[in-house]
């Protein structure tokens, strides 16, 4: 039974990532693959503050979100200048740079040795060490992020984001400094990704640079494309489907090495099929 609880926790963490990427890619049309880097910043800040700073888990997580926001401000302001393909290229560049920093800044990040012994969160005496309470924590944060994303999109700010997605040049003529809008939603999205990173660190209790690479960004992209762009529920649906595929291929007892590769073949083919069949995804509202 607790296998399912842990699976649900991983699902909740990836759902938060999908929702956060959806706000940037689904609603604002900015396809970014740098998301795994902010996922990593959240995880590393939370882990390092927890172990060395002796800080409470949630304070460390908030610091992670704040740091991710600051880094997103720097990177976002640079990337807001780019458009379309060049935006993705820039995001890939930044992802590799941040991943290299994680690998080579041994004194702080422990480099490839990673960070081990991260303790599970606790707040006012309530400990989330056991799997079930941890899952409840993940679900509450997922609902919080879901509500936040829903609210942002319902405000006029969200409407301007959609207009930027549709025709950035046109909305600019009506007096909107699109760079600022793109920057703010990028920061919000990356902050949410850092939240998921903190949770992941708490869940797995050992992190190393190999879990924050382009493969993870592509996985998040696949979730929102399968589920549906510009639809918060779509992001959750897509994540559910893809996490199911991962665990199904592990459980049906394929020879272990083929199973792992088969999963990646399924993602790849799924992305191609979606581009043909429903580019806007199962319940999406925006075609790339």
């Amino acid at each position: 039974m607790s296998y399912l609880i842990n699976l649900a926790s991983i699902f909740a963490i990836y759902a938060i990532l999908a929702i956060s990427m959806n706000s940037i890619t689904g609603y604002t049309g900015l396809v970014t693959l740098a998301h795994a880097a902010f996922y990593g910043i959240g995880a590393y800040t939370t882990a390092l503050l927890l172990i060395h700073g002796g800080v409470n888990f949630f304070v460390a997580m908030l610091a992670g979100i704040f740091l991710a926001g600051v880094v997103a401000l720097l990177i976002g302001s640079v990337m807001s200048k780019f458009r379309g393909d060049y935006y993705i290229l820039g995001s890939i560049g930044f992802l590799y740079i941040i991943n290299s920093i994680m690998k080579n800044w041994d004194s702080v990040t422990g480099g490839p040795l990673g960070v081990a012994g991260i303790t599970r969160p606790a707040l006012f005496g309530v400990s989330f060490a056991e799997n079930l309470p941890f899952l409840l924590l993940c679900l509450t944060l997922l609902i919080l992020v879901y509500w936040l994303a829903k609210w942002i999109v319902s405000t006029p700010f969200g409407r301007v984001l959609k207009a930027i997605r549709e025709d950035e040049e046109a909305i600019a003529v009506f007096g909107y400094r699109t760079k600022h809008f793109k920057l703010l939603i990028f920061m919000i999205g990356c902050g949410m990704a850092a939240l998921a990173g903190g949770l992941f660190a708490g869940y797995i209790r050992y992190i190393d640079p190999s879990t924050f690479t382009i493969v993870d960004s592509v996985f998040m992209l696949a979730c929102i494309i399968v589920g549906g762009l510009a639809n918060v529920r779509g992001a959750i649906l897509g994540t559910a489907i893809l996490v199911m595929i991962i665990e199904f291929s592990r459980l049906i007892g394929l020879p272990a090495d083929v199973a792992a590769q088969l999963r990646e073949v399924i993602y790849g083919v799924l992305l191609i099929v979606m581009m043909f069949w429903r580019p806007q995804g199962l319940i999406g509202e925006y075609k790339l």
Binding site: Y3, L4, P112, A116, L237, R250, I283
Partner: protein
């Protein structure tokens, strides 16, 4: 239209959940002839797949032998193999499945330190014993009370290498070229500390990312530093091009490597370039007997670094389970008292208070005509 599809998919997910749920009721309370299942975690694909798969074959041989000799008090031993892919995320998933779905009392694994460190917290929390057969990173020492390893920590390999270079080879000026991974950094750091303490000097320190094969620039800098020996810590992927590039550059200086060079594929590929290359490896006292068994099973007598530890791991665990049964805490306590004799990886295996194997007898192997053999 969108709504209908959304709901249809949600229903499918619920159905799938129920299927998995019913499948995972645990098997306790069966008759005493039911199999005892333990877990195995290792890299079954990815860059280090050869490491994991070779160990897996040895484990399969050991299990057949144990079951052949009556199993564990009559109950057959069974192993569930999970792929840790040598990274924290997959290893944690694998460990979680073994502990929470298959309810294994003990896990043989992980191989890479990243795998062991990722599963250790879950194992500690659920009081599941872990016996890693290949994790050498110093960090594993304090990974937990339930965490053991029958493969020596890097601290031994690094200091053994330093002593060998300084005393046996009498070299004083050494260049280090290591891959940026937990293994590479771990050993390089220890080597540098002990070599400088013994009065040697490190004339150059270069490193490279695990995925890069082009070491020309690093080797050029090392050549300019005029070392008497290069301590080249690398996995198979970068060793083959690295050795070739060094030879192309006429960097004709002896090379000392780490236990990852115990992979005959390297020497078969580099051919004459490998002549005289040396590397430290845990002396598998009886590696050849295991090699013969592996040849019968898999067609090649290749015994890679982690395999002896995995093979012995099965026997150690089988002996303990015969005495104390399958309760994990009992297994843990018994492991601290184990004194396993006649193992393949070493004649005597004992564990210290941290669960690390006591002592490590390394041997230096040297490559002659494409074959690696222990140096007299």
């Amino acid at each position: 239209m969108g709504k209908k599809i959304g709901w249809a998919v949600v229903i499918i997910i619920v159905v799938v959940l129920i299927v998995i749920l019913s499948g995972s009721k645990n098997q306790e309370g069966a008759t005493d002839k039911s199999p005892i299942t333990i877990g195995f975690v290792g890299p079954l694909n990815g860059d280090l797949a050869n490491l994991g798969l070779n160990a897996k074959s040895a484990v399969e041989i050991a299990v057949d032998e144990v079951n052949g000799a009556g199993g564990i008090n009559g109950r057959p031993l069974q192993v569930i193999y999970e792929d840790g892919k040598c990274n924290g995320a997959d290893a944690s998933q694998a460990g979680n499945k073994l502990i929470n779905v298959d309810h294994v009392p003990v896990i043989l694994g992980g191989a890479c330190s990243g795998e062991t460190l990722a599963i250790a917290p879950i194992a500690e929390q659920t009081k599941t014993t872990m016996l890693s057969y290949c994790s050498s990173a110093p960090k594993v020492t304090e990974a937990g009370d339930y965490i053991f390893r029958d493969y020596p920590s890097d601290t031994y390999q690094g200091s053994y290498g330093a002593k060998f270079v300084k005393e046996q080879l009498g070299k004083t000026k050494v260049a280090i070229l290591n891959v940026k991974t937990d293994w590479g950094d771990g050993i390089a750091g220890v080597f540098k500390k002990s070599f400088t303490e013994m009065g040697g000097t490190i004339v150059a320190e270069e490193s490279f990312e695990q995925t890069s094969h082009d070491l020309r620039a690093q080797l050029a800098k090392i050549k300019a530093a005029k070392p008497e020996l290069v301590y080249f810590l690398s996995y198979t992927d970068a060793s083959i091009p690295g050795l070739k590039q060094a030879a192309d550059m006429k960097l004709n200086v002896p090379m000392l490597g780490g236990d990852a060079w115990d992979d005959p594929k390297i020497w078969a590929d580099v051919g004459t370039i490998g002549e005289g290359a040396m590397y430290t490896v845990v002396s598998a006292a009886h590696g050849d007997t295991l090699g013969a068994k592996l040849k019968a099973k898999t067609g090649s007598e290749e015994v890679i670094a982690c395999t002896p530890g995995a093979y012995d791991g099965i026997y150690i665990l089988a002996d303990i389970m015969k005495k104390v049964g399958t309760d994990s805490t009992a297994i843990k306590n018994a492991l601290y008292q184990t004194n396993y004799k006649g193992g393949v990886s070493s004649d005597e295996i004992k564990f210290d208070i941290n669960g690390d194997v006591v002592g490590a007898n390394y041997v230096v192997k040297v490559v002659k005509a494409g074959m690696a053999a222990p140096m007299e």
